[in-house]
Subunit: 112 residues, 4 copies
């Protein structure tokens, strides 16, 4: 079983033991993901460039894991293959951000 | 190479060709993730339960891929093992949400 | 003193007693606002159309007040007149969303 | 008519001309607000402390106005008095953040 399959097994087993699929429509899963994203951001709030390095890595890992969990549950809902959608999007972004135009620049593609 | 390793290879190659690591501090990566999460949420905005099913799955996949990309880049920055942090957090959540108390309930653990 | 001026007086007095202006750069104020927005959203998470009506109005008011506080602090930082920027944006949105095209529709202006 | 009343008049007139009240349940209004908050945050993404000062103030004002618009529409929905909920919350926060403990510190009240 691949690592991604192992993650899915743990996630869906956690969910199904609690019978939570009934709550997991795509809109609320996406909302839950963005709430977890805010909790991750809160770890860095008001922190200067140097202070960011002192943020507790364990807490970062926990908030990130919650975000990933909802991302995987959305992927499962849509029968997405995680690797496939990511590689496809990276290819698409490579066209939006050509190396020669975007190198060393943090501009949005609409401003390149 | 595992699927997760293949994703990392594509992601970091995309990033390094553009020399973007200089912008990728943890605080801005987390902020970027939450902005992508908002773009995913926007697909469902104002939509009723039935209308959610008509949302373009391809667009959902693309926004989800952007979220996952930033999640993986944060994991890479902290040298996290994606599977490990996810399985650990699922275990922790299993304690916060005991089956007997949380079954069929969408309440936050603080309200159980 | 107008109501808006009274709000500013209370807000800046709260801030200055704690000497917090040093932390209040525009980027972190905007981040703080979005974290408070997530806390408001959390009150409605997993809730159906009917259940939304049972959400504690007092809690909604408190989260909304935190959002407004950061919005006012950003406005103060930029010397914006709240009424002026809002009326200007409503005018601009009226052009993006002409009545005849947008009536009874929740579509984004780019999809009208 | 107070400034806040003038804002409400412009906002509800904009909304009612388009017959949009039908879409404005509290959950989607809160979601819309957080999406606008992400658009404000995007203006500052990847920007260093110095670069923040070069962000276009007009754009900041427009995104902030959109956030405020949804905040006012939520307040209207709940019949909140903007000044009242803000002054009440400032008082509550003053207790959570006593001056002597929180002066010159950006810590969350749970960490003071």
């Amino acid at each position: 079983m691949s690592e991604i399959e192992q993650i899915y097994t743990a996630l869906t087993s956690f969910r199904d033991q609690r019978n939570w699929k009934q709550f997991h429509n795509a809109k609320d899963l996406a909302l839950a993901l963005s709430i977890e994203a805010a909790e991750l951001n809160e770890l860095f709030l008001w922190k200067s460039k140097d202070e960011i390095n002192n943020v507790d890595a364990e807490k970062v890992g926990e908030e990130l894991a919650d975000i990933l969990a909802f991302a995987f549950l959305i992927a499962e809902k849509y029968n997405f293959d995680i690797k496939e959608i990511m590689l496809n999007k990276i290819q698409k972004n490579a066209i939006k951000y050509p190396v020669e135009k975007s190198k060393d620049k943090a501009d949005k593609y609409t401003d390149l």
